[in-house]
């Protein structure tokens, strides 16, 4: 009996082994047929939206997209470590605009031009300013923008339109209160609305201090975008001069840093020197400030919540003064070591396509596709998520006309220089150093990173390229009212 039982058990095991082998063989065949690409991208709602797109892409092409959500603070490091190691861990990568020079010059990304040509992919619908600053390197296209954080400004429209405030402002400064046409006007507005407890705002007596402006002056990358990419260029400064030498010690650049410290910062809440964009939006939503400084327009869906949280508030948005504004995006490109470069390129083009971007925009994403930014029918009824689109469109078009493509976007060491700028700007605004000292130290660091004079590789923009300063042209009639 024991022998029978033993034989029966062995037979069962053999049958189970056959079944398992067959299952493994079929699943192996299935997995061999289905290509899976891995996308290293930043965590957050951007990625959650992308999961829906990935599912659609899989239905269309059979290619599965595995999305790895990585915190923005670690994304740069992780991608570089994998690229240097040549591990092939990622097929597709996400990069911020200022990482492009480093990634492309080191050869960590594959150019997309051949794939785009082969599939007839048209770049015309993507904002040219973003394609050039964020995607192009030495004339080749390495990545496509899929989420733009181009800058503009938010303000309390209800305060700006209050008759009493308007009259008082005009009496004090001699011109109308409205979207600032220059940084001097921005500073005047900040000063005008800075009120102490006991003073009145919109006819109501304040019980606590009200500040004129919210600034992202903490030791984060945001301070660089505020000063070095927006304020300083508007005042004629440039991080890297056309000759490749550091421009941060030029009088115009130093004056811009001083202007920020002396004219804007005194009218910001005390927490400004530890604040990033999220704190500034929180200040707005708590009814603490009248306007932001340069601010990422993609933050509109958060900023507009002020209207629900502060009684009587209405939010407005506008482009930044002069021709200079940070034009930046999170971009998507194919990693050099991708095991499936063709499928990876397909996914990159799909994510940046009008079809995918439309869905992305409906979910609250800030798109770089011009046809969507112009689509009034789509934006109808979506003020909470898309009211900033006309402003964004104007900022991108203005940048394109002004040819505001800062040299830093074409210097291979841009990522390292950007990192140095963070502590230098923070040192200046916190008064650890004077603006002159901070910029002098920064210039030395830039020279060290470049190993001398930086090589500005923007020949594809044309001989003698330089930005054209243009007057402020924001058209407020495009604004979507509450």
């Amino acid at each position: 009996m024991f022998r029978t039982l033993k034989l029966g058990l062995m037979a069962s095991i053999a049958r189970l082994a056959v079944v398992l082998a067959l299952v493994a063989a079929f699943s192996g065949r299935a997995s061999a047929e289905q290509v899976t690409i891995t996308w290293a991208t930043l965590g957050g709602f951007y990625t959650d939206l992308m999961q829906d797109l990935a599912n659609k892409f899989e239905q269309k092409t059979g290619v599965k997209v595995k999305i790895l959500s990585i915190d923005l603070a670690q994304l740069y490091e992780k991608q570089i470590i994998e690229a240097v190691g040549g591990t092939g861990a990622y097929d597709v990568i996400t990069y911020a605009s200022h990482w492009k020079p480093e990634y492309a010059s080191a050869g960590w990304m594959l150019p997309l031009d051949d794939q785009m040509k082969a599939t007839g992919y048209d770049l015309k619908d993507i904002a040219p300013a973003l394609v050039d600053t964020s995607g192009r390197w030495l004339g080749k296209t390495y990545g496509l923008p899929y989420y733009t954080f181009t800058m503009g400004q938010f303000f309390r429209m209800d305060l700006f339109e209050d008759p009493g405030e308007k009259a008082a402002f005009k009496a004090k400064y001699g011109h109308e209160l409205g979207a600032p046409k220059s940084y001097e006007e921005m500073a005047q507005i900040a000063e005008f609305f800075h009120r102490k407890p006991g003073q009145s705002l919109k006819g109501q007596v304040l019980t606590k201090e009200f500040y004129g402006i919210g600034l992202m002056a903490g030791r984060f990358n945001h301070i660089v975008d505020e000063i070095a990419f927006s304020l300083a260029p508007a005042m004629g400064g440039s991080i890297i001069r056309d000759d490749g030498k550091p421009g941060v010690i030029d009088p115009a650049f130093v004056a811009a840093v001083k202007f920020y410290v002396e004219k804007l910062l005194p009218h910001a809440p005390p927490g400004a020197t530890t604040s990033g964009y999220d704190e500034v939006i929180a200040q707005m939503r708590q009814g603490l400030i009248a306007e932001t400084g340069p601010m990422y327009l993609d933050q509109w869906p958060n900023a507009v919540k002020t209207e629900k949280e502060v009684p009587g508030a209405e939010m407005g948005a506008c482009t930044l003064p002069m021709s200079a504004t940070l034009v930046g995006a999170f971009n998507i490109g194919v990693a050099k070591d991708s095991k499936h470069p063709k499928e990876a390129a397909q996914w990159v083009m799909y994510v940046a396509s009008a079809e995918a971007q439309r869905q992305f925009a409906l979910g609250g994403g800030s798109t770089a596709v011009v046809s969507i930014l112009k689509d009034k029918a789509l934006q109808q009824g979506h003020r909470d998520t898309m009211a900033h689109f006309p402003v964004l469109l104007q900022a991108l078009q203005h940048t394109e006309k002004a040819r505001f493509y800062p040299n830093i976007y074409y210097v291979a060491q841009a990522g390292k220089i950007y990192e140095e700028e963070i502590s230098a700007m923070s040192a200046a605004v916190s008064k650890q150093k004077t603006p002159e000292e901070a910029m002098k130290d920064l210039a030395e660091k830039i020279t060290q990173h470049c190993g001398g004079v930086c090589k500005v590789q923007n020949a594809h923009l044309g001989a003698g390229f330089s930005p054209k300063p243009l007057p402020y042209t924001f058209d407020s009639s495009t604004w979507v009212r509450k």
Binding site: P270, E279, S430
Partner: protein, 333 residues
């Protein structure tokens, strides 16, 4: 068989072998072939026991350390065409020793460690004495003390960052409630480092208190009873009995806290990111920036090794006296 020969086997639970008739085996002057084989077997057994630990130490400590030494003598710039470049001798050490930021951040780290370790030791010892004198609820207070240690550093850091926030933080609400001027705790260049110190003191004082309390509770009662009978004052008891007997525990806590304080990284990352400017940029944060933001692994490795040498020298200096005392005590026995 001699007693000496039997000892190692008794250590790992093996009984000394005896003849079957119950009589002791005749004493031998040297090892027999059997005992030699056994002693070899013991050695092999010992190696077998420590082998997993050795493998782990080799792969996770010695190999990375050796690799760091190698990197510190090469030109390594991962984000440039250089990659892992040629050997450059001691150039990186020369660079580090001439780098102003290295010395400034090292000085800041030393200041930070000095202040927080002194405060944490003083407060921790005081709290331990207080708790040791309690008759009731000692266990409850001890559990409360463990809370800051049990919390994840990142989560606690984030909470403290919000508590410190100049516009929305609870600290400024408290200060305002006391009619004192509100402060920009983490954004003011003079207050930022003390604010990080306060956070560290909050987090690690309980550690000192718990360890010292355990030390106090393990002290023998007899010497204290004798001192009481002799009419020794509290100060004399503390000076002559309590602190000398606690010295090994205190030294160990001091070394552990010092090493941890000079390795400070998490609170800086969560609270200030090294700012404002660079006023809270400690050595570990600086070398993290050099290594992981600029990808100059040669310079980062060099600074890390210099930092390691300094830490080892410090620990040896502090531990030397304790080791000497323990050796003397062992000799007296």
């Amino acid at each position: 068989m001699s007693q000496d020969q039997a000892l190692p086997r008794a250590d790992h639970g093996l009984e000394a072998e005896q003849p079957g008739d119950g009589t002791m085996a005749p004493e031998q002057s040297g090892p027999t072939p059997t005992t030699r084989r056994r002693s070899l077997s013991d050695t092999g057994y010992a190696w077998l026991l420590v082998a997993p630990a050795l493998v782990i130490i080799f792969f996770f400590a010695l190999y990375p350390l050796g690799y760091a030494v190698a990197l510190s003598m090469r030109h390594v710039d991962l984000t440039s065409s250089v990659g892992i470049g040629p050997y450059v001798g001691l150039d990186n050490y020369r660079w580090a020793l001439h780098d102003k930021q290295f010395w400034v951040s090292a000085g800041r780290t030393g200041l930070f460690a000095l202040v927080v370790v002194v405060v944490e030791m003083s407060l921790g010892i005081w709290i331990a004495f207080l708790l040791n004198g309690l008759r009731w609820l000692k266990g409850l207070f001890r559990s409360f003390l463990l809370l800051p240690l049990a919390a994840a550093p990142a989560a606690v850091g984030l909470i403290w960052r919000n508590m410190y926030h100049a516009d929305f933080g609870v600290f400024n609400s408290l200060v305002a409630g006391l009619h004192l001027p509100e402060q920009n705790w983490l954004g003011n260049q003079r207050l930022a480092l003390p604010s990080v110190m306060l956070f560290d003191i909050w987090q690690w004082t309980p550690f000192v208190a718990v360890i010292v309390l355990a030390g106090l509770q393990s002290l023998p009662k007899e010497p204290f009873e004798a001192a009481e009978l002799d009419g020794a004052s509290t100060f004399m008891v503390l000076r002559r009995l309590t602190f000398p007997m606690l010295a090994p525990v205190l030294t160990l806590v001091f070394v552990l806290r010092s090493i941890d304080a000079i390795r400070l990284y998490d609170p800086i990352l969560m609270l200030t990111q090294g700012g404002p400017g660079t006023v809270t940029e400690t050595l570990t944060f600086y070398l993290y920036r050099v290594g992981m933001k600029f990808f100059r692994l040669d310079q980062a490795s060099t600074m890390a090794l210099l930092f390691l040498y300094a830490t080892i020298v410090f620990c040896l200096m502090v531990m030397r006296r304790l080791m000497r005392q323990m050796a003397e005590r062992a000799e007296r026995r």
